[in-house]
């Protein structure tokens, strides 16, 4: 599926919730689906530090696609990462680089990505895109 198709799917999934508690319950459930980063990759180098919670991110490049794995010590962050990976993992560097992640705002999670939130999510998206740029660059050399 393409990035935007996935995003639209997520937006639809979320549209059934009219209550923050249900939305968060769903995100908590999603956290369990996260493709967890291998424990040997949970190293300093792959950590993205927020003030409150931490995020680990790793990326592999195979067959023209990037596969991300990640983890966080906060469940909601993990749930949101799970969504981000659904959207961006298994896509080409090119499309990741150019992705406009409009679903975040649409499902009401934009503020989780504000720079003041400091939960590492904003930095994580940056890092995901940096991986895409790096692999794209390698590819085109």
């Amino acid at each position: 599926m393409e990035i935007n198709e996935i995003q639209d799917q997520i937006i639809e999934d979320f549209s059934v919730f009219d209550d923050w508690m249900d939305k968060y319950q769903y995100i908590i459930d999603l956290s369990k689906e996260l493709k967890i980063i291998k424990s040997e990759e949970k190293v300093e180098q792959n950590v993205i530090k927020g003030c409150q919670s931490q995020v680990w991110l790793s990326a592999e490049y195979t067959n023209g696609k990037i596969i991300y794995t990640a983890d966080s010590d906060a469940i909601i962050t993990k749930g949101i990462i799970s969504l981000l990976i659904k959207v961006l993992s298994n896509q080409s560097p090119e499309s990741i680089k150019n992705a406009d992640l409009y679903f975040i705002e649409a499902i009401g999670l934009k503020e989780n990505l504000s720079p003041t939130r400091s939960n590492g999510l904003l930095a994580m998206i940056k890092q995901m895109k940096l991986y895409a740029i790096a692999f794209d660059h390698k590819e085109n050399r």
Partner: protein, 405 residues
């Protein structure tokens, strides 16, 4: 009894809506909200009296100087200091401790001297001493606490040696809520002629403080945590110490005479108030202290203790909740964790329901290291909180905790 509903009307921000819900503000240990009289006192100042002090000759400057010195007198009375020149206005509690760390340190601390703090201190009462000890090759010693969050006084008494130059501990822990046995700590230190600094960040807003009765050598106050404005703080110091200490910052007003070769410093308290002070802030802080007095520190403290008991009782019933800090003498804050959830998870969901609780390490990482936790969720109380708010929050925490099981 306090008429909380009436009192709440004094705090305009309490009418705020958060995500469409009524704001329930349980973050007063981080900063309190401000009553209208305090806000008005700032507006009034800038509208009618503002002028630089330094005892200028023109009327506005005279008036402004008067208001500033009146504020000092108010603070003096509020904490019952002996002299008003023992009251130094600072930009905050952190600065007050740094001032002592520098000025006491430069004056009295030599290599291998020892300073004692506790393991439950806020970073503001750890880092300045670490920095001083590094600069002076002095040694920082730590009073440990037990699992309930109670300081070990036996160990404390053994820590004091001939080399001990200062003890610095908090009145109330901003994480564990422990009310430390300050009179005992001070008495023992004084037996060995060791002065004691009290981190009073969580103090005057909850109970009447009498620095002469405590007999502490230094007492520090965070204005913004005591219903006063941001950027204000108080250092109380006994004359005998302040007088001997070298100045902290250099500049206007802290000098008697300046030549390019040599400078003679001013008398107390001006020696420690370099530059244009925040005289507006000082006036607004004095207004806040008067407001606390008008409500009654004891009534406020009793009310808050009721809230703490109620919250403790309710949360204790939830098996997924662990409370950190179970000292018999406790006040103003309640730290806890929900099984399976990061503190930020809980804080975030609570926020969506209008409950403002702080999550994280509360600038007291050694406490987190002790319990080996990433942080806590902290409910903290101000005079304006109600039992209904506590009940609603505890119910919400019950609901949230189920989501993570």
């Amino acid at each position: 009894m306090l008429d909380i509903q009436k009192l709440r009307l004094d705090f305009p921000i309490l009418q705020t809506k958060i995500h469409g819900k009524d704001l329930v503000y349980f973050d007063s240990a981080a900063t309190t909200q401000k009553p209208q009289v305090v806000i008005d006192s700032i507006v009034d100042y800038y509208t009618k009296y503002n002028s630089n002090i330094h005892r200028g000759i023109h009327s506005l400057s005279q008036l402004s100087t008067q208001l500033y010195e009146d504020a000092r007198e108010t603070v003096k009375q509020f904490i019952n200091a002996e002299h008003n020149y023992e009251i130094v206005f600072t930009k905050g509690l952190t600065e007050a401790i740094n001032l002592v760390a520098f000025s006491f340190g430069e004056t009295f601390i030599k290599p291998n001297d020892e300073i004692i703090i506790s393991a439950m201190e806020h970073h503001a009462n750890i880092v300045p001493w670490q920095m001083l000890c590094e600069r002076k090759q002095a040694i920082l010693k730590i009073i440990p606490f037990d699992n309930d969050g109670v300081l070990d006084l036996d160990i404390y008494k053994n820590l004091i040696t001939e080399k001990t130059k200062l003890v610095s501990v908090s009145y109330i822990s901003n994480v564990l809520g422990t009310k430390n046995p300050i009179p005992e700590i001070i008495k023992f230190a004084h037996l060995h002629n060791v002065p004691v600094l009290i981190d009073g960040a969580q103090s005057v807003q909850h109970e009447k403080i009498d620095v002469q009765k405590l007999d502490c050598d230094f007492f520090t106050i965070a204005g913004h945590k005591a219903y006063g404005p941001n950027g204000t703080g108080v250092l109380y110091g006994k004359e005998k110490w302040l007088d001997k200490m070298v100045p902290y910052q250099g500049g206007g007003d802290m000098i008697k005479t300046v030549t390019l070769q040599k400078t003679e410093y001013n008398t107390l308290p001006f020696k420690f108030e370099a530059g244009t002070t925040d005289y507006v802030g000082a006036h607004a802080l004095a207004t806040a202290f008067k407001y606390i007095e008008s409500i009654g520190a004891e009534l406020i403290g009793n009310h808050e203790k009721q809230l703490l008991s109620l919250a403790t009782e309710k949360l204790s019933k939830n098996e997924a909740v662990t409370i950190y800090g179970n000292a018999p003498q406790k006040s103003c804050v309640l730290s806890f964790l929900v099984k399976g959830a990061h503190p930020a998870d809980v804080g975030m969901i609570l926020d969506k329901q209008g409950f403002a609780l702080r999550t994280g390490t509360h600038c007291a990482e050694p406490i987190m290291q002790y319990y080996n936790i990433p942080g806590t969720i902290r409910m903290s109380f101000g005079m304006y909180n109600t039992t209904d708010e506590v009940l609603a929050c505890c119910e919400m925490i019950d609901r949230i905790s189920k989501m993570f099981q």
